[in-house]
Point group: C2
Chain length 134, copies 2
DNA sequence: TCGATATATATCGGCGCTCGATATATCCTG
DNA sequence: CAGGATATATCGAGCGCCGATATATATCGA
C-alpha cells in the first residue's frame, strides 16, 4: 500500500536486531522488554518473518551456537536491512506527525464555529505548515 | 500483537478524517495528496475499513449528499476515533524513535575497535536509558 | 458523438500474514 | 519430578489487503 513498507512484525524484528545480533527467542524477549510489555511478538509469527527477511536480504544468519545443549541461531542486519529499517522509521515518524497535526487542525476547526475562542481553553498549538507523511 | 494497534489502512483513513469529514473517494485522494503520492489506499480496501471503523465506533456517518447525480457519504471521527488515532500516532513515533536509537547504537558498536568480549550470553544489558517504544 | 477519464459507490476471490496450538528437547527451580 | 523457562519449528484458521469487476454519472478531447 505504501509503495513498500514492511509489516509490523518485521519492523519489530529489525529493531530488535539493530543494535546487535540476536537469536530468535532473544528477539522475542528483547522486543517485549524494549517496549515495556506493550509489544509481544508471537513465536508462530517470528520464524516466518525471519525467513522472509532473510529471503529479502534484510538480515543474514550471523552464527550458530550451542549453549547448554540448546541451539541458538543468531541473525544480524545487512546494510539493506539497516536502510530499510531507517526508511520505515522515517515513514512512521512522518505519519505520526501528520496525524497529530491534523488532529490539532480538527480541534481548531471545531472550536471555530462560535465567535471567538475564549482565551485560555484551547491554545493555538502552532501551525501545521508543511509536510505530509513524507 | 501490540495489545491493540490498528492496521495501516485504518490509520490512514483516520488521519484523512482528522481535520474534517470526508467521503470515501475523498479519503482516497486526500491520503494520496497528503503523502505526496507515497501512500495509495486501494478502493477494495477502503470500504471494508470504513465498515470496521464504524463498527468499532471510531467513525460515524456524518451526512449524505448528492453532488451532480453522484452520492457522497461523509464520515467523521468520533471522540474515540480521535483518541485511537492519537494513541496510534504516539506508538508510531515511539517505535520510530526506538528504531533510530538502536540503529545509532549498532553503528557505534560497529565502529568500536574489536576489543572482543566473548562474555557469553547476556550482553551487558547496559544502559538502554529511557524510553523503549512507549 | 463516441470513447476515455474522473468521480463515486460496492462486492468478491485470492493470497499473504499473524495467531494459537502443537511438537520436540534441555536446563533449572521448587 | 513436575512445571516453567529456554529454544527451535510447523501448520491450520482467520483476517485484512489487493486486484478485478460492476454500476452510474459528468466531463473533456478527438
Amino acid at each position: 500500500m505504501t509503495a513498500k513498507s514492511m509489516t509490523r512484525a518485521a519492523f519489530f524484528v529489525l529493531t530488535a536486531l539493530a543494535d546487535q545480533p540476536r537469536h530468535g527467542y532473544g528477539i522475542l524477549r528483547e522486543t517485549e522488554e524494549l517496549s515495556g510489555g506493550e509489544v509481544h511478538l508471537r513465536v508462530g509469527t517470528l520464524y516466518g518473518v525471519l525467513d522472509r527477511l532473510t529471503a529479502d536480504g534484510l538480515i543474514v544468519l550471523d552464527r550458530e551456537e550451542v549453549q547448554q545443549g540448546r541451539l541458538r541461531r543468531y541473525y544480524r542486519l545487512t546494510d539493506d536491512g539497516v536502510a530499510a529499517l531507517d526508511a520505515e522509521a522515517e515513514r512512521m515518524a512522518a505519519g505520526a506527525g501528520a496525524a497529530r497535526r491534523r488532529i490539532a487542525e480538527g480541534r481548531r476547526a471545531a472550536a471555530r464555529p462560535a465567535a471567538q475562542d475564549p482565551a485560555g481553553l484551547e491554545p493555538p498549538t502552532a501551525p501545521g505548515l508543511a509536510g505530509g507523511f513524507a
